[in-house]
């Protein structure tokens, strides 16, 4: 802390209140117990002794959103679950963070094309802070994601600058209408056929 640092006796540390709060906050990121599919197994492994997420202060998996700071969405989110995910997110106290863990939550993953009931990315439902890729991501990857969240917390300036104005509505959400030439499967097929013909090299 600049000129104050080291002016006092040994064992006394000076810091700003903001940094102290951020330090406390980042070192006790309590995640919510929230596993939806296979990725949850990897999240449990991260919590267990070998990878030990407790080293980063995020080992206290809370059974209620009201005590949690971090939502690790681990697994496939389907439409039936979507409203519950959003409700749990809304129940978490500020400041709250979301890790999208795994290909499924990043953008549909293996169910992108034929998953009729899978949400194509959890960022359509809640705002996501960190995306962890992989199917499933290794525990190390999840720890890395957690560290990025901690970076984010460390940079927060609640007291001096106030809470940044955030667009809490997921940017990609909402009903997207397909262009008219792709509306129905028949039209889409036709469109693909026309495209193919156009791409074929002209005969000399």
């Amino acid at each position: 802390m600049g000129w104050l640092e080291g002016r006092f006796e040994e064992g006394v540390i000076t810091t700003t209140l903001e940094q102290a709060i951020n330090w406390a906050r980042e070192s006790s990121m309590w995640p919510m117990t929230f596993g939806l599919a296979c990725c949850a197994i990897e999240m449990m492994a991260t919590g267990a002794s070998r990878y030990d997420i407790d080293r980063f202060g995020a080992g206290a998996f809370r059974a209620t959103p009201r005590q949690a700071d971090l939502m690790i969405v681990a697994g496939t989110v389907n439409y039936k679950m979507a409203s519950r995910v959003r409700r749990l997110y809304n129940q978490m106290p500020e400041p709250k963070f979301v890790i999208a863990m795994g290909a499924c939550t990043c953008g549909g993953g293996p169910y992108y094309k034929y998953g009729y009931n899978v949400v194509k990315g959890v960022d359509l439902i809640v705002p996501v802070d960190v995306y962890v890729a992989g199917c499933p991501p290794r525990p190390e990857a999840l720890l890395e994601g957690l560290m990025r969240i901690q970076d984010k917390v460390r940079a927060m300036k609640y007291l001096t600058k106030g809470q940044p104005l955030e667009n809490l509505i997921p940017a990609r959400s909402g009903y997207v209408k397909l262009p008219p030439e792709l509306e129905t499967p028949e039209k889409a097929n036709e469109f693909a056929k026309r495209n193919k013909e156009r791409a074929a090299p002209a005969k000399a």
Binding site: N117, G174, Y175, L178, P185
Partner: protein
């Protein structure tokens, strides 16, 4: 007991109501009419020679080729099948019963074909029938509680039908 003997017993009891049989399949089966289903199933369970005390699964199969170019070569008329896999712990034999249904009742799209429920014979049928209704779209009459089991209650359509169109949007969440 071998499949031949089982079919012989069934034929002796039901005669021409056994519409077809196939014994050289891996799972030998008979085909019956939906109207006879409950009677046949009760006989299969209660007859001391058969004692099919367990219903392994109920499957709905949609025979349909949505691509009109391939439909001619598909080798079947569009229809639905409901397949009951049975086995007996006591007698240690297995058997399969099939029903053949139209894809839509009275050929009116949207009208689910109807099958009598066997939930009163095997309790296991309860959830299997709900799943078949949910994903393939077969209406089981006389089922105690026929609701969707996997998808949300307000879902439209039956996704494992071959001509199912994926939803573009569900409650404001876009689908593709």
């Amino acid at each position: 007991m071998t499949a031949q003997e089982i079919v012989a017993i069934l034929k002796e009891r039901f005669g021409p109501r056994i519409k077809a049989e196939k014994l050289d399949a891996i799972d030998p089966y008979v085909v019956i009419e939906p109207a006879d289903l409950v009677e046949v199933c009760r006989f299969l369970r209660d007859d001391p020679r058969l004692q099919f005390d367990m219903l392994n699964c109920i499957s709905g199969v949609d025979y349909c080729e949505p691509d009109p170019a391939k439909a001619a070569k598909a080798g079947f008329e569009p229809h639905l099948e409901v397949v009951y896999h049975l086995s007996s712990f006591v007698k240690r034999h297995r058997f399969v019963v099939k029903l053949i249904l139209p894809r839509w009742k009275d050929n009116k799209p949207g009208q689910l074909p109807e099958v009598p429920s066997v939930a009163s014979i095997w309790r296991a049928a309860d959830w299997h029938e709900r799943e078949t209704y949910d994903l393939v779209g077969v209406w089981f009459t006389g089922h105690p509680d026929l609701r969707r089991i996997l998808l949300a209650d307000d879902w439209e359509g039956h996704p494992l039908r071959k001509d199912y169109v994926f939803p573009l949007e569900y409650h404001g969440i876009r689908g593709r």
